[in-house]
């Protein structure tokens, strides 16, 4: 059901991996070869580039800087690093990437992260607290609101912490399932919205009836109680809860071989 449970490459189970590595590998497993993916920077970018090196060599990566079908040898630090342009099939302008490529619904998967997500999958990257007097000012919208509305589906990658997984986000930057079932249609949002939230503890998916995020997979060594303790709403557990397979040695070695531009070899 989740598509993140089984290794995509290699069968030998790896030892000594971190929860962040498990999250990135689970997120990479969620992408399919040949899909067209609009990639956010940070965790999504790392996972998408891992997928491209494992089971999805023909995964088409698009960044909001206008780089289409880019194949960076090293991970970009920013959304518009030179490696993205150098290795792209084509580079288009920013108005074009949003108007011609994202807006009409040509993109299969929007791959996002955020500072807060709520039980209905709405994402906040704007402020913590009140808009006019926030406790934390976050970077803002960027491309996320339209990625979340226009891609056929959205996959979210975030570390699972109580401050981030909240009953209601402080600010709706990007709409998930809005106020509940049918709200996306009412708002005129044409994509399906978040279909999966992959964290360092497990995987959440919207309940088909209520659109509420429920726990559908647990990563190795994680308990339901621990996930609940890090979730700000009474988290429901799917009847067919699955357990994520640990990283294979191939997955883990490939992930660890990824370097960010300008980063030195790990010693």
């Amino acid at each position: 059901m989740t598509g993140t449970a089984e290794p995509v490459a290699g069968t030998q189970e790896a030892q000594d991996w971190s929860s962040d590595e498990m999250m990135t590998i689970a997120a990479a497993r969620a992408l399919r070869d040949g899909q067209v993916c609009f990639v956010g920077i940070g965790l999504p970018s790392r996972a998408a580039n891992l997928a491209r090196r494992l089971h999805a060599p023909r995964l088409v990566l698009i960044y909001e800087s206008g780089t289409v079908d880019t194949r960076p040898a090293e991970l970009p630090l920013s959304i518009g690093d030179g490696v993205l342009a150098d290795s792209a099939l084509t580079v288009v302008s920013v108005p074009e990437i949003f108007n011609y490529w994202l807006q009409p619904g040509r993109i299969d998967v929007g791959f996002l992260s955020g500072a807060q997500i709520d039980r209905l999958g709405n994402i906040n990257t704007t402020v913590i607290g009140e808009y006019d007097d926030p406790t934390v000012r976050l970077p803002g919208s960027g491309g996320a609101p339209e990625i979340a509305s226009s891609c056929r589906q959205v996959i979210v990658v975030m570390r699972h912490r109580l401050r981030s997984f909240v009953e209601h986000v402080d600010f709706v930057t990007s709409v998930g399932h809005g106020t509940g079932p049918g709200d996306r249609e009412r708002l005129g949002l044409r994509g399906a919205g978040p279909v999966r939230v992959i964290t360092d503890l497990g995987v959440l998916e919207p309940d088909p009836e209520t659109a509420e995020l429920v726990l559908t997979a647990l990563h190795p060594g994680v308990t339901v109680e621990r996930v609940r303790a890090e979730t700000g709403w009474p988290l429901q557990v799917a009847a067919d809860l699955v357990f994520t397979a640990p990283p294979s040695t191939t997955e883990l070695e490939t992930l660890r071989s990824l370097r960010t531009v300008g980063e030195k070899e790990a010693s």
Binding site: S65, P95, N99, Q103, G140, S150, S174, L189, R190, G262
Partner: protein, 269 residues
């Protein structure tokens, strides 16, 4: 026809206190040299417009050049927050800062409308988000053909747009390539425009994917070698990621920032 002038003269003639100023460049070709010259000339009460205010706007805000910021993503890409921007918003240091916030798609379309001579642009966006409650330049419009309700965003027409490019010829025709962002639209939307370039050459050799801004559509061209550093100029130099990481510590601390500011003010353009 663009005149080719020294950068201090171009900034002095084109950028005035109280202007709405856009320094564009999407990660690539960010006009840092021009931003630093604006700091040196002590411009004040600017409305700074930029999709991705990063270090150069953090520096200009910290230097007290801006009273308002119009933007869609404000951060140090891959590193963290803009602490001078946060300090201005939270504490009014060195001067209070007002914000007008959009999404990238909204900002890009605002420039498109401005460049096209239209009062607004239409897009599928903002629906269901909290931004329209806070941003007056977002509204909705009904399609006269289908009846569908769509987002409308007001055109952006900066008093002056500044971009950086790889090169210009001696007639002031400008060529830029790599990630071209929203620079063409930002220049064509503006009442006045300045392009800083790595070099002025006799002839613009065609480059795949390059855009060319005709000299007659620009007011001034100024040579500024390495004028986009620590961002990058495709084909000339790479992004200095270490400088972006190092900015975080400078930006967090007012004293460290003021030391940086003195170093910039003492530097001749």
């Amino acid at each position: 026809m663009a005149k080719i002038v020294p950068l201090p003269q171009a900034v002095s003639e084109l950028v005035h206190d109280g202007d709405t100023v856009a320094l564009e460049g999407f990660t690539h070709l960010i006009p840092f040299a021009a931003g630093h010259e604006i700091i040196r000339q002590h411009r004040r009460e600017l409305t700074l417009v930029r999709m991705t205010p990063d270090l150069v706007y953090d520096q200009m805000i910290g230097a007290g050049c801006a009273s308002k910021l119009v933007f869609s993503w404000g951060g140090n890409p891959g590193v963290g927050s803009l602490h001078r921007m946060r300090d201005a918003l939270a504490n009014g240091w060195p001067v209070p800062l007002e914000i007008e916030e959009h999404s990238h798609a909204g900002m890009a379309n605002r420039y498109v409308a401005g460049a096209s001579g239209l009062p607004f642009a239409v897009l599928r966006g903002y629906s269901g988000t909290d931004l329209p409650q806070h941003t007056k330049t977002v509204s909705t419009v009904q399609c006269p053909f289908t009846g569908e309700r769509l987002a409308a965003v007001a055109a952006l027409n900066p008093d002056v747009t500044i971009v950086h490019a790889q090169r210009a010829d001696r007639d002031g025709n400008v060529q830029l390539w790599g990630i071209t962002g929203v620079q063409k639209e930002a220049v064509l939307a503006a009442r006045r425009s300045l392009v800083t370039v790595e070099e002025v050459v006799d002839e613009l050799t065609p480059v795949p994917g390059a855009i060319v801004l005709p000299g007659w559509a620009i007011d001034a061209v100024a040579t500024a070698p390495c004028g986009a550093a620590p961002s990058y100029a495709h084909g000339y130099y790479e992004r200095d990621n270490a400088a972006y990481k190092a900015w975080d510590a400078i930006s967090r601390d007012r004293e460290a920032f003021l030391r940086w500011l003195r170093s910039i003010e003492e530097e001749a353009a």
